[in-house]
Amino acid sequence: MPLPQVSSPYTLVICEKPDAAERIAEALSEKELNITKHGNIKIFTLKRSDRTYVICSAIGHLYMVSDPLQKRYVYPVFDVEWFPIHTVDRKRRYLSQRIGVIKKLAENADIFINACDFDQEGETIGFNILKYACGEKQTTALRTKFSTLTKTEVQEAFRSIVHGLGTGLAKAGRTRHIVDFIFGVNLSRALSESYHEFNQGYRVITIGRVQGPTLSYVVNREVEIRTFVPIPFWRLHAELDKDGATIVADYEKKRVLQISESQRIKKRCEGKKSVVTQVTKSIYRQFPPFPFNIGALQKDAYQTFGYLPSQTLEIAERLYLSALISYPRTSSQKLSPSIDYQKILTGLLMSKTYNKDASEVLNGEMIPNQGPKVDPAHPAIYPTGDIPKRALSSTEIRLYDLIVRRFLAVFGEVALREQISVTIDIGGYLFNIYGKQTLNEGWLKFYRKYTSVNDKVIPYLVEDEKLPLRSIVAEENFTQPSPRYNQSSLLEKMEQEDIGTKATRANIIKTLYDRGYFSGSRIFATDIAFAVLEVMRQYSPKIISIDMTRKIEENLEKIERSQMDERIVIHQAVDQMMDSLAAIKKAEKEIGGKISQAIITTIHKQNRLSSCPLCKKGTLNIIRSKKTHKRFIGCSRYNKGCRASGPLPQRGPIIVTGKTCSNCEWPIVYVRFNRKSWRQCVNTTCISKRKVEKDEM
């Protein structure tokens, strides 16, 4: 279909995503909104104050950094340029049409407006389109800034449009892409090439400026867990009688390190009188939570619903594009004073779910409890108060509810809680009982279902009260290793250490999974992770050091504030890479051997199901037939006569559970396919399967 026939000149508005373009067009149109389609690309034309606006969109980045030679195996590469993505990545050839459309529209436009998201990535997307597709219009283009896609905010953003607002952001964003390319692509090519040099095979082995330190956190934790020696200790507690019921008091020392001491205390307490010596009550205030930034939202969504951080970001993006919440990629814990709380709460009044709570907040002082973190680009995440115009999915409903309730809780009163501490003397040894209860719910009433604040009620006890002693128990315990990271706690660690950006952290973790470095929801570091990290420690220790990546982040912030020249940061990155790459080049075969071995071991471990229930000597493994390429289960002692085997579904991932069937002791696998998942015993003659067949009949 042809491009819209619009009388030139007109204003061309560049948006980051198609949904955002549609929202902006709807918000700006005063009378008629014309939509023309060029393939899958929608172009919106509207009249506003006698001026014609043409609104088009990118679909994320349309340009990327690459080397002019574009040879995947060549390294080092330090001379980089920006290229249209479709010329570098064949899978994204569909982007060429979009760039073509924007180029065509730019020919007759006289004013350009960058309406991409106001952050480093958004600015980079807009800057590149204006520079390369619109013919160097990045310096003259106007810039809008909005945090929600509601009609009022979009209209206000276009009224207060400014020139050159995000120059620093664009420079910082573009520098980030170049620096990440210099580190990531060079080192990843060096590792992949080493692997190729050793066994002539090809496998993508990546490492980068943020991937390096993230990998080292997980591997270091893995080493800590694998080298953990538990140390014994004893916990003592007294079981006391209070009006026929048993109450338990803990010995004042939480850990008794010697069995002899625990036995001595136990003996000395037994048969002695127990007297309440002290009852203290203290009231403390529990302040409302801070408004959500993306990190806190991802953490709470993982803990409450089990959503992965990348999944939360994706859902939040959808809610933002539906104008239900503000821009989610923010690190701010503050709500801007310009936000019209009254309007948002009045909007929430229309919903049956939030009607009561919203009206309560509306009748209060409406002063939010805010955190220390600031993001110059966007405020903390908040609901817009708009009513959903489409049916939300169950995941969207849950996340939206979490965001709305958090927003309401932020305005809630301080909760008042009472802590009761009772000390009991038994034969000269002191034991304690603690209780907690809520006196005034405050903000908890809005956010109760998402908090872990619980009351612990203890019986009413007074000083000098005598409680008959039922028994003293000395319980043997052992110290426990640090827990493994999960996606949420790893993301939190990255945030604490200030590596990566709020927008990229979740994807970095996902990449590390995709590369086979991590496995499981409780993150295990695979042998590949160990091998890659060992190579990096030896040949490029800086890439895994937090200091280097943190220094770069600081420098990028300086560029954003126009306090530093971007060329300095790029030169520093090149200098740091030179020596490392030369050292890797020299030891390519050795490195390749190490990584190849690790890959073989990891695959072997991942495919190993259990010991063979038939021959009892071999192991059952997932095998792929060389002839048919189908997967099945077979015993490692097939050559020695064991015929234990079983079929497997040919599609979807198969996860080894490590559990065996209670009926036949064959392994159970977890299968996921087509949004369904199930556990199945791999034995075709298992009794459990016969039962199912009978049931079906």
Binding site: R226, V229, P232, I259
Partner: protein, 77 residues
Amino acid sequence: MKCSLCNREAIDDKLELCWYHNEACKKVEAGFEKWCLAYGELDWLTYLQRVDERPETGIWVKECCKFLKKKKNFKNS
């Protein structure tokens, strides 16, 4: 030289262990003092056996316990 317990390069010529298993062995040795203090008297082999049986013990520590037990039994025989 390869590690006696895995495929990595050994760093300790005496025990023929890689860096990770060497670290695990060091922790096993350091833990013995604490276990002796906790239980009073405890012999080395019983200690290794009990550490090996604990579910929270690290996998490399378990491998080291078995390795050290074998070494001790070999010396005794």
